[in-house]
Every structure is written in C-alpha cells, then in structure tokens.
Symmetry: C2
Amino acid sequence: MTLEGLDDLDRLIIHALQRNARKTSSKTIADRAGVSPSTVRNRIQRLEDRGILRGYHADVDYERAGYQLHTLIVCTAPVPRREELAASALEIPGVVRVEEVMTGAENVHVSAVGTDSDDLSRIGRDLNELGLEVVDEDIIRNIHHGSYTEFETGAEDGT
Amino acid sequence: MTLEGLDDLDRLIIHALQRNARKTSSKTIADRAGVSPSTVRNRIQRLEDRGILRGYHADVDYERAGYQLHTLIVCTAPVPRREELAASALEIPGVVRVEEVMTGAENVHVSAVGTDSDDLSRIGRDLNELGLEVVDEDIIRNIHHGSYTEFETGAEDGT
DNA sequence: TATGAAAGGTTGAACCC
DNA sequence: GGGTTCAACCTTTCATA
C-alpha cells in the first residue's frame, strides 16, 4: 500500500529535506514550488503519515566528536530472527545504525562508534550475546551522504 | 584538531538533534538543559563550524516512496583512489550513500535505490566505468537508525 | 489547496560575568 | 570568551472557506 503517488511537489519536498532538514522552512520550499506554505506543510504531514518521511537526523562526524573508532561490524543472523535481532542491536550503546540485507549469511550490518578498542570489544560481545554472529569488522573511514538526485525538480541548489 | 572538548550541553544538543533535527527547537533543548535558547544556538553554531554537526537529513523510506529496490553494492577501489572514487560515486543518480572502509578489498560500500532492475544495472555499469569494481550486490531489507546513546544526559526521552 | 490572525521560535545586537 | 536579554522578524498552527 501507499506506493507511488508521489508528484513533483512531493519529490521537491523530499529532496529539500534530504539536503537540509533543519533550516529548510515550508516557506522556502513553497516559494520554489509556487504554492503556499500550508500546502507544503500538509504534504509533509502526509508524507510522514505514509511513513515515507521517517524522521530527521543530525549527521554527526563521530571522529571529530572524539569517537575515533567508527566501525562496520558484519554479522550473521538466523533468517527468521534477523529483523528482531537487528532491532535489538540498535539498543546496544555505541551502535548507531543497523542494516538488514537479504543475503543468506552476513545479513546484518552494524555501524558502531567508540573511543577505544575496549568499546568495540564490548559491542562485539554484546552482539554475540544477542545471537548475532560477528563475522567481520572494519574501520569506517568516511561516509558520504547524498540525496536521491532524481527527486530534484525545477529549481534547486540553494547554497 | 577540534577533538574532545564536548561537554554535557554539547552532548545533549547532539543527542536531541539526532532524534529529531527538524522539530527540536533551541528553546526545547534550552529548557531541558536549564540554559537560554541563544546559548543553545551558539553551541549548535560552534558544533557546525567544527564539523561535528555536518548536516540534517530527512530519513526517507525509499521502498514506501516507490523505489522498491534498495541495494548495497560492495565495491573494490584501488586504495590511493578510494576517497576520490567514493566522492564521485555519490554523483551517480540513484546512489544515496557511500561508505569508505579500511579493508584492502571491498573497501567502498555504495547504497543505491531504483525502481527496477534496469536502474541497478545502470548504476553498476556507472560504478565500473568510474573505476570501482563491483564485487557484490545485495538487497537492503531495512535500515534502523539510532543515536549515540551515550550522548544522553540528565533528561531526555521526549516522546 | 489557500488565506489570515494568533502563538511561538529565531536572529542579531548590546550587555554582563 | 561565553552566556544572557530584548525587540524585530519569520514560521508554524489552526480555523475557515
């Protein structure tokens, strides 16, 4: 349900909020789109209700924040418990993102941050205790965030 | 430079903005922390200047938005060109995130979305043309976003 | 989807510790 | 240098059409 049905205005809104969710006001988007600010607000509300816009998160550079160890921990979960275990993994202190992938093995990718190797040992232990088998662990050097470019319409590129 | 030096207020701010970057006003945070809204604003500005807060992005459920194919494309880049190639990969339409990891091989992880398999074939081709060797490709089932829990201080848990 | 008035948030400058 | 206060301005909210 709720698939498709995105028009140009929806896409423009999503794109704008991907670029800067905090400083982009409804009015800014409205001016770009040629509609009124309340229309934009209504659309945003609808996109949130439909679960298309799930939230707005600050993008934190953990390395600069003093958490030098940012790692990707590749795990294997029994397929029937994958979703449940992925959700539980998020509760472990230091875990900042969990991705479920559809491979047989290596089907849960956990991103975690810490200040020293003790943190990461602990996180590895916690994951194992949950029932997630840690199969690989790599330092993440850098993350580049994009927005889905095809959402771009008419005007854009504020900055 | 600019490492450490985060105090409780900084951590409270970061945590609040990780939870909801769009609807959390300086005043809300200020009330929680017992300081004035402008103090919070000043701190946010400083965190942005230091590169600790890099931006605020909408969290889009691409599947519900009609882009059913969300995939993780694991690539290998020659180490000296890894950073450059990772940045270029972001420019490919459909690519939404690129992670550089420190392994020898499989050192660039690309997340991409598309509506059909043609999109993904094209993206794979584009990555190869850039100089990124595609070594694996998996459907992403779900992404869970967390905030770094140790940023929590004193009060929290609004919702 | 648009309009308009009231409530509340943000901004920047001047001021204090 | 960092925190506060205050007034002008902008944004959101909600009722209304």
